[in-house]
């Protein structure tokens, strides 16, 4: 019964998406006249998507195993949180979530649609096309509401890896808010091309929408890294796995766009380039979906092989050929004629930033798809090692960090040495002091010293500017400092994000260069020293939890005479899986994390072998990610005033 309701929702959304395309196109042709109503189509899309998601959740929570998706991905013993998260833990459900978020964004764009807004109407029609594709998938190849003739007594349960950590409930929706959100800028770019709109109007709106998607994408990527660190137990957070790269690629191009869009707004340059970046970003999200959802790469994200793969590949081709074909035919209509006055200017640094970010994206793209292309043509199965990516990413990343510091200090048009010197002196001094301190503290790899110096450069540059402005105002110093972001949210949001990136860069450099791994074997009661800590094997344990049985080791962590606590690396045995899943145990500290992953536990001889890792400053990575997210949101609020409709502003705290 609920399957019928759910499928009805899918069909309603599909029909509404078709109606949205028709009505959006008609309204565009009528110069955006509100006499062509989009209301019903949008409401139908949202309602249909919500009914589909609601039905799926209802079926999961009520253990309705007559639905194949529920029988495959849920069991009676599954805890409630993972039951709810089960709606996006497998292929079909994840596409329902995709559709729901797309419908949500469509509603949001619709609510901001102005009378006579023909570009906005065309953008909604483009979103309708994308919605037709995804709801079409749900109605055919990825139907989540297929029923079973024979209803099993219990389901198989979720993939054990996906019910091992609470982040599983948060990471996918957040990442999808970013991924799916890139549809909105894409829709506006296509609309601007179709309309031949050469004004900066579409761009200001597109940048706001990109900021929303980009903020969530940033947070989603960091949450994914965190999940990988806390759950997989191989002792890291990023492996240049194709699936990780799939989320990183659109992030890079979207970041490039956020910057180059500023140049267009301020100086009327780079219009065509901006359109190309947006088209590329959306194409990369579809490529990423194809990589992660089609089974071309083996990973926890590639659920099943099905007709979804070819469908996504086809859609990718449509996006590439259609988008860039339109761009080739009509790009000149939105292109600019302004030229750069001088490379030594804010525009020049933005240009450098864009070249580096697209180069970075290009390198990652080549490394990601090369193995697939090679296997397709020669049959050789290969993997590109992480070191190859590191070799490219480290120099590009360091230059980017430098550009990130210099850019905001450089004036537009032409940078006079005097002005630049006044702004750059203090940050340069701070960088020199930081570098000297790092060397004195015994930090050796030049890349780490450079990262520390550049991070100090970036952060001091921002602090100096904030300090200068706050002093120049009448109010109390701290009060003015707190009011700064509100005075120019676009700029200061960007600066907050820069601080976040600098923190992330520090964490990557430190954990990458000074991470230590040691294999430790202990018998019960025995102690061993590890990087200044003492590990003592207290006892093995065996626990029955509602959905799994757990075998593990209680290991006491102490430093000197101080006991820091017990770590419990373990193996989780799920009833539906023959093999157990190892789960590491992490103690996060200000200086460093101690991370234990169970290798082998032997009850007979009472020995345990663990992989012990020490990672310095890991918390900076998670904090930096949050700061980047916050910066993106601050910048978003600042663009509100350029919105066509000044909506009732809900004041932000």
């Amino acid at each position: 019964m609920i399957a019928v309701v759910g499928f009805g929702g899918v069909l309603l959304a599909l029909i509404s998406a078709v109606a949205l395309v028709v009505q959006g196109t008609r309204r565009f042709l009528a110069d955006g006249s509100a006499s062509v109503s989009l209301r019903l189509a949008v409401i139908g899309l949202v309602a249909g998507a919500a009914v589909a998601m609601g039905a799926l959740e209802f079926a999961l929570v009520t253990n309705d195993f007559s639905i194949e998706y529920v029988a495959r991905n849920h069991a009676r013993g599954t805890p409630l949180l993972f039951t709810i998260a089960g709606a996006w833990a497998a292929l079909e459900g994840s596409i329902v979530l995709w559709g729901l978020i797309l419908a949500g964004y469509t509603l949001w764009v619709y609510r901001r649609l102005d009378e006579r807004d023909s570009v906005g109407a065309a953008a909604l029609a483009v979103m309708g096309v994308v919605a037709i594709f995804f709801f079409g998938l749900m109605a055919t190849a990825a139907n989540p509401f297929t029923t079973l003739a024979q209803v099993p007594a219990d389901g198989l349960g979720a993939n054990p890896l996906l019910q091992n950590h609470i982040l599983m409930a948060i990471h996918p929706p957040v990442l999808y808010l970013g991924y799916v959100g890139m549809t909105v800028p894409f829709a506006f770019a296509i609309a601007a091309l179709v309309a031949g709109d050469g004004t900066a109007e579409w761009l200001a709106r597109t940048r706001r929408w990109t900021l929303v998607a980009w903020s969530f994408l940033s947070l989603g990527i960091v949450l994914g890294a965190w999940w990988s660190y806390e759950v997989l137990g191989w002792g890291g957070y990023w492996a240049w796995d194709p699936v990780e790269n799939a989320s990183f690629l659109p992030w890079l191009t979207a970041t490039a766009f956020i910057h180059s869009a500023v140049v267009q707004r301020r100086r009327g340059m780079l219009q065509a380039w901006n359109v190309a970046l947006i088209l590329g970003t959306f194409a990369l999200t579809i490529l990423g979906t194809f990589l992660t959802r089609s089974g071309v790469v083996a990973s926890v994200h590639s659920f099943t092989q099905s007709a979804v793969g070819p469908a996504l590949l086809g859609f990718l081709l449509v996006v590439l050929v259609g988008g860039f074909g339109l761009f080739a035919a009509r790009g000149h209509l939105v292109a600019s004629s302004s030229r750069l006055d001088s490379l030594a200017s804010r525009e020049g640094v933005f240009l450098l930033n864009n070249l580096l970010l697209t180069l970075f994206a290009f390198v990652v793209l080549v490394g990601t798809i090369y193995p697939m292309v090679l296997e397709a043509f020669t049959g050789d199965r290969v993997s590109v090692g992480g070191p190859w990516f590191d070799r490219s990413a480290i120099p590009i990343g360091l230059v980017l960090l430098g550009a990130m510091g210099i850019g905001p200090m450089t004036p537009y048009r032409i940078a006079r040495p005097g002005v630049l010197w006044r702004r750059i002196r203090l940050p340069l001094e701070a960088a020199a002091v930081a570098a000297a301190a790092a060397v004195a503290a015994g930090l050796r790899p030049i890349t780490v010293v450079a990262t520390v110096a550049l991070a100090a450069f970036v952060i001091t540059g921002i602090a100096r500017h904030a300090d200068e402005l706050a002093r120049g105002r009448s109010g109390s110093y701290l009060g003015e400092l707190a009011r700064l972001p509100g005075s120019d949210p676009g700029y200061w949001g960007g600066m907050i994000a820069h601080i976040g990136v600098a923190l992330v860069a520090m964490a990557i450099a430190f954990s990458g260069s000074f991470g230590v791994r040691q294999e430790v074997t202990l018998t019960v009661g025995e102690s061993m020293s590890f990087e200044g800590y003492t590990l003592t094997y207290l006892s093995p344990f065996l626990r029955e939890e509602p959905n799994r049985s757990v075998i593990g080791a209680t290991i006491e962590l102490s430093r000197g005479s101080r006991i820091l606590g017990n770590l419990e690396p373990r193996l989780n045995q799920y009833p539906n899986q023959v093999q157990a899943i190892p789960t590491p145990s992490v103690r996060t500290g200000i200086r460093e994390d101690v991370y234990l992953s169970l290798v082998r536990i032997d009850q007979g001889t009472a020995t345990v072998t663990v992989d012990a890792f020490r990672f310095p400053l890991m918390w900076l990575l998670w904090l930096g990610g949050l700061v980047v997210f916050a910066g993106g949101l601050v910048a978003y609020t600042g663009r509100r005033k350029t919105s066509p409709i000044p909506t009732a502003v809900t004041s932000d705290a």
Partner: protein, 134 residues
């Protein structure tokens, strides 16, 4: 003119990246491919995948020798390091190391996670989803 220049630059970059990538590639081979290829002994490091043959495991705390098979060919493996808890006969492993013509010397082992799920009735259900092996 500009487009041609950009295209040329891009082609150059791709060429450079791919030339560079080749040195970092890790090849994956099956026992049959290894035994059938005389060049494998001089190929440097690569990954070898297969099932651990029942009765072939000799375990000490720091080293383990066993044989892997792909069903047609069997290759002897000498692995240095403590094997994981999950290591046992009959499971799939991917080992990385070098091949000397008769024995594969490995120092890195990834356990391929079993893709079989147990069902209530004792039957076996095999989804195509796999476990990540970063």
């Amino acid at each position: 003119m500009f487009l041609i220049a950009m295209g040329g630059l891009l082609a150059l970059l791709v060429g450079f990246l791919i030339a560079n990538i080749r040195e970092s590639l890790v090849y994956y081979k099956t026992p049959t491919e290894v035994v059938g290829d005389p060049a494998a002994a001089t190929a440097g490091r690569f990954r070898l995948g297969g099932l651990v043959v029942a009765g072939s495991v000799t375990d000490s705390s720091t080293e383990v020798t066993f044989a892997v098979t792909d069903g047609t060919t069997t290759v002897a493996v000498d692995h240095v390091g403590t094997p994981q808890q999950l290591f046992r006969e009959g499971i799939g492993v991917v080992v990385e190391g070098t091949w000397d013509g008769s024995v594969f010397h490995s120092d890195s082992m990834i356990i391929k996670h079993d893709e079989q799920y147990r069902t209530e009735e004792g039957g076996v259900y095999t989804p195509d989803s796999r476990y990540p092996t970063p």
